[in-house]
C-alpha cells in the first residue's frame, strides 16, 4: 500500500465512477491465475478481433453491465472458474427463453406473479418497489417492498427460480441511492403502492429517469445508523450534533481513493466485454422476439361498423 501511495500522492480522484470505464493493466493474466482451462469457441474469436482493432470500439453497448448485472460473476478470485461461469450463463439464457426478465433498477416498481402451492389459485401476485438487488449468476435476487393495509410487507425473490411466472415493470426509474433499505424506517407513504397499479410506459430509447425524491424518516430508533451512510435520497435527519460528530470519527474517507479495493470488487472492463459478447446476441434476439409478440397481441383488427 505504501508503494502505490507514493505514486498517487497528488492524483486524488474518487475512483469509483471512473473505474468501470478504465481498462485495467495486465488483466490478461486472469486465465493463468485461475489455472483452469478456458473453453474455446463461443465469442472468443470476436473478442480477439476487437482487441487487435486500434482505438478499441466496444462491440456491445456499455449499458449491458447495468441492464444485465447478474451476468457478471462474483469478482472474488478464489471462486472464479471460466467453465463454470460459461455453464451458468448458458443456464441463465435457457431460463430467459421462458420468462422475460426485464431491465429494472433499485427504485423501480415491479409486479411479480409466481406459482404458489399454498394458494388456492396456485399462483400469487405481489406489487412493490425494488429496495435491493443482489447475487451473481443464478443466485440473482431482489427484494420488493409495499405497505398493504398499513402493514409493511417485503418479498424476497430469486430471479432465475422456475417458480416465477412473470416479472412486469410497472414504473421504470432509478433513485439517488443504490439500496433503499431506509424505506423501512421511512414514513409509510413512501413505500405504499397500489396493488392494481397500471404499467407506465416510457418513450422508446429514452434514458431511465432518476427520481430525485428525498424521503422523510420516522423518528429514531432506526434499524441502521443512517447518519453514518452517505445517503442522498433522505431529507435532513434532524439529529443532535453528537451523532454527526461520531459519524465523522468512524468514517473511512480514504476508501473512495483505494484503487486496489475497487479493482478487487469489480470485473475488469475487457472481461466484461468478453462476457457480454457471448450472451448479447442471444439476449437481443429474445428481446426482439418479445417485442414482436407484444405488438401482435396488442394489435386489434378494426371492426366494421354497421
Amino acid at each position: 500500500m505504501a508503494l502505490w501511495c507514493r505514486g498517487v500522492q497528488r492524483i486524488l480522484v474518487d475512483v469509483r465512477p471512473i473505474f468501470s470505464l478504465f481498462q485495467t493493466i495486465g488483466n490478461t493474466e486472469y486465465s493463468s491465475l485461475s489455472s483452469v482451462s478456458r473453453p474455446e469457441g463461443l465469442g472468443s474469436d470476436e473478442a480477439k478481433e476487437a482487441k487487435t482493432v486500434e482505438g478499441h470500439k466496444p462491440i456491445v453497448p456499455l449499458e449491458c453491465r447495468f441492464v444485465y448485472p447478474e451476468f457478471l460473476p462474483d469478482p472474488r478470485l478464489d471462486h472464479r472458474n471460466s467453465l463454470r461461469e460459461k455453464l451458468e450463463r448458458m443456464d441463465m439464457l435457457n431460463r430467459r427463453a421462458h420468462i422475460d426478465i426485464p431491465e429494472f433498477y433499485v427504485g423501480s416498481i415491479l409486479a411479480v406473479t409466481s406459482s404458489n402451492s399454498h394458494a388456492p389459485e396456485k399462483s400469487s401476485r405481489f406489487v412493490g418497489i425494488c429496495i435491493q438487488r443482489g447475487g451473481c449468476g443464478l443466485r440473482a435476487s431482489f427484494i420488493l417492498r409495499n405497505v398493504i393495509d398499513h402493514q409493511g410487507v417485503e418479498m424476497f425473490y430469486e430471479m432465475y427460480s422456475p417458480v416465477v411466472q412473470k416479472i412486469e415493470v410497472l414504473r421504470l426509474e432509478k433513485r439517488l441511492d443504490n439500496e433503499l433499505l431506509y424505506l423501512r424506517d421511512a414514513l409509510p407513504e413512501y413505500s405504499t403502492f397500489q396493488l392494481d397499479m397500471e404499467p407506465e410506459f416510457l418513450p422508446e430509447g429514452a434514458p431511465v429517469p432518476v427520481n430525485p425524491i428525498k424521503v422523510k424518516l420516522k423518528p429514531r430508533p432506526w434499524l441502521e445508523r443512517w447518519e453514518r451512510q452517505e445517503l442522498k435520497g433522505v431529507q435532513d435527519l434532524g439529529l443532535p450534533e453528537r451523532f454527526y460528530k461520531r459519524a465523522a470519527e468512524v468514517a473511512r474517507p480514504w476508501e473512495k481513493y483505494d484503487l486496489m479495493k475497487e479493482y478487487r470488487a469489480s470485473i475488469p472492463a475487457e472481461e466484461q466485454e468478453e462476457i457480454f459478447v457471448e450472451v448479447y446476441s442471444q439476449l437481443q434476439q429474445l428481446e426482439v422476439m418479445r417485442k414482436k409478440m407484444k405488438r401482435r397481441r396488442t394489435f386489434v383488427r378494426p371492426k366494421k361498423m354497421g
Binding site: 482451462s37 472458474n81 467453465l83 463454470r84 455453464l87 427460480s161 422456475p162 417458480v163
Partner: protein, 379 residues
C-alpha cells in the same frame, strides 16, 4: 514410528516382503485402546511404485528455435496432435499399444473404477416441485487409465485391521488426469506412462477395483461414467485453515464473554480427569493445524451430467476443498444407495452406443430448458 507418548505394548507382525519395501520397517499394532484413534496418523510403511520424483528443476537449456520445434514434433508424433476435448486443451492420444483386454460383466457388490475431477464451483438448481438445491460442479479432467495391477501383485501399505483379507481381492487401477508437456517431468515419472502410450499427466490417482472391473490402460474415462440418479462418494482435501484454536477446530464452547472472566474466553478448560489415569489421554482435542486433510463425503446424488464438457453436478455444497481443487469420485459405499442396475461397466465407451445428448438430467431435477413450474389445482 508412530509414537504417541504411551507405552507400546504391541506385537510384531511378520515382515511382509513387497517390491519396494523400505528395509527395516516394522509394523506395530497398538493393543491399548486410544481415545478417538481415527485422526491419529498411522504412517504408510511402503511407498507405492508410482511414488517417484515428479518434477525436475527447469534450467535454461538455450535451445535453438529449430530444436524446440523438433521436440514439439516428436511429442506430437508420439502422442498425437494438440486438440481441445471437452473444453480442455490436450493431445489427441494415439491408439492403444497393448493387447485388448476382455471386458468384465457387472454383478452387485462389484467395485468399478472412480474418476479424478476438479471442483469448479457451486450454483443453485431447482427440483421439479420448486425446491432449491445447491449443486457442486465437478469437471472430469482429461482422465486416462495408466496401469492395472492385479490383486496378486498389488500389496497396499495399509490393510484393514478388522478384515485383513478384504483388500487382498482388489486390484489397483492407476488413473491419470490432465495431460501435460513431458518436458516438465522427470524421466522416471514419464516411464510410468510408457506402456499405456498415454501422455504424462499432472495428477495420478489410484482406485481399488474388483478384477472384473479392470480397464485397458490408455482408455479415457468420461463424466458419463456416472449417470444422473446414481450416488457417489467424493473425496477431497479440505481447505487449509492454519493453526486453529479449540473452538474453531473442535467446536468447543469456550468461556463466558463477561462476568469477570479473566483471560478464558476461547480456551479448552479442563483437559483431563484426576484419579487413576492421572495423565492426558492420547487423542485429547487441542489446538493445532486444521484442514489440508483428505475427507470423503458419502452418498451425494448425481443430478446432471454434461457430456460436452465432462461436468457432473452433485447435490450439496459441502464437497471438501476450494474451487479448482482436485477431487476423487467413487461409486457410493452406502449400502442403501448402492447401484442396483448395471452401470456403464467397466466404464463408459463412446463407441458402444449412440452418442449421448449434451445434457442429461435426473428425473426430479428441473432443467432450465423446461417451461415454468406450475402446480395443479386439486379438485
Amino acid at each position: 514410528m508412530a509414537g504417541v507418548g504411551c507405552s507400546v505394548r504391541g506385537y510384531f507382525l511378520p515382515l511382509r516382503v513387497a517390491r519396494n519395501v523400505v528395509k527395516g520397517s516394522i509394523c506395530c499394532l497398538f493393543q491399548q485402546q486410544v481415545r478417538g484413534a481415527k485422526h491419529l496418523n498411522y504412517p504408510r510403511l511402503r511407498n507405492p511404485i508410482w511414488f517417484v520424483r515428479k518434477e525436475r528443476t527447469k534450467y535454461e537449456e538455450h535451445l535453438t528455435p529449430e530444436n524446440k520445434s523438433f521436440i514439439q514434433e516428436v511429442i506430437h508424433d508420439k502422442y498425437g496432435p494438440p486438440t481441445v476435448i471437452g473444453g480442455i486443451s490436450t493431445y489427441k492420444q494415439s491408439p492403444l499399444k497393448l493387447q485388448p483386454m476382455e471386458r468384465g460383466s457387472w454383478f452387485p457388490g462389484c467395485r468399478r473404477t472412480g474418476v479424478i475431477a476438479r471442483k469448479i464451483g457451486i450454483y443453485p438448481m431447482w427440483l421439479k416441485d420448486g425446491t432449491r438445491v445447491l449443486t457442486t460442479l465437478l469437471q472430469v479432467l482429461d482422465n486416462h487409465v495408466i496401469r492395472y495391477i492385479p490383486p496378486e501383485e498389488f500389496h497396499p501399505p495399509r490393510t484393514s485391521v478388522r478384515n485383513p483379507k478384504s483388500k487382498q481381492q482388489l486390484g489397483c487401477l492407476l488413473v491419470g488426469a490432465e495431460s501435460a508437456d513431458p518436458q516438465t517431468f522427470t524421466k522416471e515419472y514419464c516411464g510410468l506412462f510408457k506402456d499405456s502410450g498415454v501422455m504424462p499427466t499432472k495428477i495420478l490417482g489410484r482406485f481399488l477395483i474388483s478384477p472384473e472391473a479392470a480397464v485397458q490402460p490408455g482408455t479415457p474415462l468420461y463424466a458419463s461414467h456416472f449417470k444422473p440418479g446414481d450416488y457417489v462418494d467424493v473425496r477431497g482435501k479440505t481447505v487449509y485453515r492454519g493453526f486453529q484454536g479449540v473452538m474453531t477446530r473442535w467446536g468447543f464452547k469456550g468461556g463466558p464473554a463477561s462476568h469477570g472472566v479473566t483471560k478464558t474466553h476461547r480456551r479448552p478448560g479442563n483437559i483431563g480427569a484426576g484419579g487413576g489415569k492421572a495423565r492426558v489421554w492420547p487423542g485429547q482435542k487441542m489446538p493445532g493445524h486444521m484442514g489440508n486433510r483428505y475427507r470423503i463425503l458419502y452418498g451425494l446424488e448425481v443430478l446432471r451430467v454434461n457430456t460436452k464438457y465432462n461436468v457432473i453436478w452433485v447435490k450439496g455444497p459441502a464437497v471438501a476443498g476450494e474451487t479448482n481443487s482436485t477431487v476423487y469420485i467413487y461409486d457410493t459405499r452406502l449400502p442403501l444407495r448402492k447401484l442396483k442396475e448395471t452401470p456403464h461397466f467397466p466404464t463408459y465407451y463412446p463407441e458402444d452406443d449412440d452418442p449421448l445428448p449434451d445434457d442429461i438430467y435426473s428425473e426430479n431435477l428441473h432443467p432450465f430448458t423446461a417451461p415454468t413450474i406450475t402446480y395443479e389445482e386439486n379438485a
